[in-house]
Symmetry: C2
Subunit: 352 residues, 2 copies
């Protein structure tokens, strides 16, 4: 293989200055369209590699990584960010973080701010609303890497880092079935996002594989906040037939459900077995302790930054445009153990 | 009062272009030292107001506010930031956030990143380690406002926004005394920071005013994490005489203490009455529910951004270089109500 083609080679070929070539390739307004077309054509013929170009010519490195999160107010996001900080510090980078607050408009504003702050790369977990990725194009077209984590989207030039949400939900639901539940409800977030739509699929497939009916009326979609958990529990309490199992897409909402159900005299897990998601510390504070899916947030954050730094250092092989799957795990605690509770009850009734 | 002096007035007086005057006043390398000295002298004689100057001439507005926090992993900081986002969105600003992780070195790096990102203003809650403010000088000397919140420091050109930590701790400790506690311990964070040193003072003064001895061995200083709470509880369990009251400087640590004490068979509040700080949602999840100081985090965040925007719009009167105090409040729940528990016990013993 020959030497990489540089803008100097193109400049010589086209008969213009390297600056003009660089500007032309970067779509700079000072260069006219005809020149841009010519330069682009010649660059293509000579086998000029745009990515390498963009990364070499990109504005000076700031050693800053931009992070866009939906909301900062969750223990899960805290663990993700602590993993990011760890890898960033090790790599000599600093993080700047902004919140989309679940709106596309704010995510767009964040992207612009990050771009103007000249971040070297961008890590994004998408808002509830996001349905196109145009606002990341200024990065991608300049070779500034964008990596999606947790709430991801398909983009041929972007890596996604996720857990297998479908499988995690499948396991959680199957565990409830094993505990004897036959009428399991699912509370989850906006189904536009992979994390929630995949969990719904996992819940559904587990029911079907266990010959239980899948009923859309057993699904509650809300914003998974503490308040939403209270409201969901109130809604459940009004049902003619209470569910005997409940799988909730985060722990904040699950804990608030358990609290409200308990206050109404419902016993967890004897009446309703409950499983959350994320394995937040609060799982070990609520009584009964909450069964949950352990989400390796810190590992995900670390990996996202490491993948980004690899890209910044020119290693794109094996990482770019792939999806990286992290392992999750069901942590079983009292809130879902109907059989154990039943056992205890039998034990208490039996003679000593 | 006359018209404000502008760089045009100075330019006329000195006989140089307004650009040169502006550069000279901004310490631009293209202007020689002699000219700088001359311009500075004339500007001073003419009563030129540097602050106004700096704010007018400052690099183009980015409509971005930088926020430096010690750590993002607390419900308290989440509420502060949600208040900031609210006011920022209303004012047409976007936030970028970074964490010092409690080290001076990282706080310095954050300040540099924020400066390079050309934020219009900076909101800072100081790290455990910070003992000088040099890293904020690049902002202050260019008239970019810096506002401290929660963990603050004295600086003649910076506003501080705080709650009255001394009074809040005084009230919490007094409440424990009212409940019959005579041997009260205090768990708190790094005493370099106003929030913790002021709470210690409040605790101490409440003891003294109630004729109870103040004993340094009753103070545990740690990082107020969940793990630190467990360790503190273990330490307490090893004491010859258990305390009958415990005032902890945050809820995370208080809850973890309560859990560990309960596991060891200690009854809260009957054996040890416990009070936390911040009024995080977890206070209403732990059993018994935790008495805590309600910290108006969201209000503080909102106010910090509003004060900053006022400064950016040229209103400095009544805000700059002042300390703004927000009201806090003791929220009494079961964890501290010894008298109520005692009452219940008596009631159970009494004939129906």
């Amino acid at each position: 293989m020959g030497k990489d083609i540089t803008i100097y080679d193109i400049a010589k070929e086209v008969g213009l200055s390297p600056t003009t070539i660089s500007r032309a390739l970067n779509d700079h307004p000072a260069v006219n369209l005809k020149t841009k077309q010519r330069v682009s054509e010649v660059a293509g013929q000579m086998g000029y590699r745009t990515n390498l170009f963009a990364s070499n010519l990109r504005r000076q490195h700031t050693h800053t990584i931009g992070v866009i999160v939906p909301r900062l107010n969750s223990p899960f996001m805290s663990t993700v960010i602590s993993g990011m900080e760890k890898a960033a510090t090790e790599g000599g980078y600093n993080l700047i973080i902004s919140q989309s607050l679940e709106t596309l408009q704010k995510e767009q504003a964040n992207a612009k701010t990050m771009f103007d702050s000249r971040v070297d790369g961008l890590l994004v977990s998408l808002s509830y609303e996001t349905d196109d990725l145009h606002h990341f194009e200024p990065f991608i077209s300049r070779g500034i890497p964008v990596i999606f984590y947790d709430r991801v989207a398909e983009h041929e030039q972007c890596t996604s880092i996720v857990i297998d949400n479908l499988q995690a939900a499948y396991k959680a639901t199957s565990h409830l079935v094993e505990q004897g539940c036959t009428n399991i409800m699912h509370i989850t977030g906006n189904l536009k996002r992979n994390v929630y739509s995949d969990r719904l699929k996992g819940y559904k497939y587990a029911l079907i594989d266990n010959n239980l009916p899948y009923n859309e009326q057993n699904i509650i979609v809300n914003n998974l906040s503490e308040e939403a958990g209270e409201e969901a529990a109130q809604q459940i309490l009004k049902m003619k037939k209470l569910p005997d199992g409940l799988f909730v897409s985060n722990d904040t909402c699950a804990v608030s459900c358990v609290k409200t159900l308990k206050q109404a005299g419902i016993s967890v897990p004897a009446d309703v077995a409950v499983i959350g998601f994320n394995n937040d510390p609060i799982c070990r504070v609520i009584e009964p302790n909450l069964t949950s899916v352990n989400y390796p947030g810190s590992e995900m954050g670390e990996l996202a930054v490491k993948a980004l730094i690899l890209r910044l250092n020119g290693s794109t092989e094996g990482i770019a445009s792939n999806t990286i799957n992290l392992r999750s795990e069901l942590i079983i605690r009292e809130s879902s153990l109907k059989s154990k509770v039943a056992g205890k009850k039998w034990g208490q009734l039996a003679p000593k």
